[in-house]
């Protein structure tokens, strides 16, 4: 927090103070979700380590999850705004479960790849190249 304040111009301090004292809305969550999602996408694109790509996927899924939860939250909903109700939470749950399954399989594939190629560099996975 203090780092954030120190890094920004003095004009930003009231903004932070405002954030501190004002309630949080859905948009706050959406911003966080957007950052997580983007970080995940960049991570997937950038990393050559297969496990790094996996981590990127996890981040993307989490960014989406944040949005689902935010839209379904009973606290954040605006007056009269449409809400996902419980569905958002349940979808988030399914995402978590499927992410676990995905990670298990992806890890198994990665380990297999590692066994066969002695590396986890996905740029070297070109056996099927025509």
């Amino acid at each position: 927090m203090s780092l954030l304040a120190a890094g920004l111009p003095v004009a930003a301090v009231p903004l932070v103070a405002g954030l501190l004292s004002s309630p949080v809305g859905v948009a706050h969550y959406l911003v966080v979700g957007a950052i997580l999602f983007t970080a995940g996408v960049v991570c997937m694109a950038l990393k050559r380590n297969a496990l790094g790509v996996l981590m990127g996927i996890e981040l993307v899924l989490n960014g989406a999850n944040v949005n689902f939860v935010a839209f379904s939250s009973p606290y954040l909903r605006g007056e009269g705004a449409a809400s996902l109700g419980l569905d958002g939470q349940i979808i988030a749950l399914f995402v978590i479960l499927l992410a676990a399954a995905e990670a298990a399989v992806a890890l198994a594939i990665t380990l297999n790849f590692y066994n066969n190629h002695a590396t986890v560099d996905i740029d070297r996975a070109e056996d099927l190249k025509g």
Binding site: L111, Y114, N115, A118
Partner: protein
Amino acid sequence: MAQLIDDDPRIIEFDVRTDEMLVNMGPQHPSTHGVLRLVLRTDGEIVSEVEPHIGYLHRCAEKIGENLTARQWIPYTDRMDYLAAMNMNLGWSLAVEKLMQYQVSERARHLRVLIAEMGRIASHLVGMGAYGLDLGTFSPFLYAFREREKILDLFEEACGARLTYSYITVGGLTADLPPGWLRKCEEFLDQFEPVIQEYHALLTTNAIFVKRTAAIGVMSPELAIEYGCSGPVLRGSGVDQDMRRDGESIYTAMYDGYAFEVAVMKNGHYPRDHAYPPVPSDTVIGDCWHRFFVRMLEVVQSMDLVRQAIDRYSACKGPLGEPVKLTEKIPAGDAYLETECPKGQMGFYLVSDGSAIPWRVRARSSSFSNLAVTHELCRGCLIADVPAIVGSLDIVMGEIDR
């Protein structure tokens, strides 16, 4: 290179390609019994090779022996197997007596048996307790040391020392027992007998203990003989050999008239095994559990021998006899004698040129041979089995490095 077939047991299954890793176990490691260094070549948790590195406790004992008279070297034998120093004293004394053709008095003979067997109990107690420690249970170790302390108290009363006794010496013993010692010794035995059941309950029959030791580090009789293993390690593989019965006459004569059965499995039974917990079904002869169990049996066997020795010693009315002079000349020639020490067959070899100081002194360490077999036993085991296997061999580094 050997031809490989599909069910070749030497092919190790694996889940993930992992690099072989060299791990240093020791010389500063909680479970290597002193300053032993084991270099493990592991693949994950699976050990593919164990290489013992020794020599951290080398003190030139043999060379020193070539500069001292035979009796002067006795304290150096104490420091070989420091857990069973009495038996070390006895081994060297008998070897020298063999060359000198010296006959100790009857009283000294029985006293030697008494002391040596007490020493065996003390050593096996350490072996047993420390084995529990290797497997991760601490309490039996202290129970064992509690009883060992009582033996050490007795030894202290007899010779004034608790660890390095120099009590048995060339030509007899340095002193007779103090008055009342035998009564205390009998009291100890009476008190100790039921305690053994505790050890059986905590270790021998404990389900986890059996799981950790059964079928681990299985040593076939042939392998044991090939590597020159001896003592409980050899008998644990079912080889019926005990120097007290099969040794040279000067040594077996000491046990003349004593009734004891060698603790070895014959026809699927240990001697008097109705008195002990049954052998678990998942054990294999020659595994860690059997090596441990043989030690437990030998404790009882030694107690029996001590009781016999007490009777015979107190029946002996003759004098104990004086040990030989410190500077007694040894006749020219050489002699080699192996005795049954707690850890195995401990051999002493000396060559004399006729002076009081031996020309050459060598010791054949039982632990050394027993340790040599670790790389055979540990191949393909898990890391957790390495302490279990090394512990079951019950080595003592003072004897290996000398």
